[in-house]
Amino acid sequence: MSFAEFLAMGGYGQFVWPAYAVTLIVLIGNVFLARASHRRAVEEALRRAARQEAGS
């Protein structure tokens, strides 16, 4: 099987590849969003801890 044939997916390439692309975007997007959300929480927590230390 040639690479062009693989890409053609028996004539269904225009449906198969977008389906895989959307799923891949969702998978990668979730990782980025989760890490960003965690990073934000860490920054907020550190700021809060610094404030508490200064106040006490």
Binding site: G10, Y12, A19, V22, V26, V31, A34, E44, A45
Partner: protein, 244 residues
Amino acid sequence: MWTWFHKLASPPHFYRIAGKLTPWFGWTALLLIVAALYGGLVLAPPDYQQGDAFRIIYVHAPSAWMSLFIYVTMAVAAAIGLIWRMKLAHAVAASAAPVGASFTFAALVTGALWGQPMWGTWWVWDARLTSELILLFLYFGYMALRASIEDLQRADKASAVLAIVGVINVPIIHYSVIWWNTLHQASTVTKMGAPSISTSMLVPLLMMILGFNIYFFAVLLTRVRGEVLRRERNAGWIREGAQA
């Protein structure tokens, strides 16, 4: 067992253990998903009826499975949070929602991309598709409700009730292809007796589903760690633990 459980539920312990587990889950999931991609796109033969279009199953079915699995996870966590007033459980429920919504979206879009060449339409208002769309709105409703209530404890409680009531949609989605006449094909994997699919097609599917599940645990743990930090207003451990 119970002392272990209580220890895990304590925020600093959970934070540390989750932080150690996450990379293991992440890499295992990546390995499984890459292997399943190779198996599904290259090794598996084309379907005798659907040709290569059937390969959409390897992203569609696992996404649809996750949309339900995550909803149940969310509802169970919400129920535990309500009944035992466990903050960590509420944090799990809140963290699961956006991930679940994204998989529901993926299931709907990949389903449309499969429906067009096989059924000749992107969308029909039949039982399976409509109930899956309702699932997406349940996720959105849950997230909107949480966002609209400023007080965290009240947001936890109100959204937990919504999550628990909405769980009724899960068996409806699952059995919709049996209870109603629908364009959607019946389940491939969990059919009574032997699955109606050859081994070379089935193995990548099962690997993909397992990979998606483990992937979800990694993403969920990362989000819950953030939620735990947000909920700990005055904790000295944050200083030492936060960077890790």
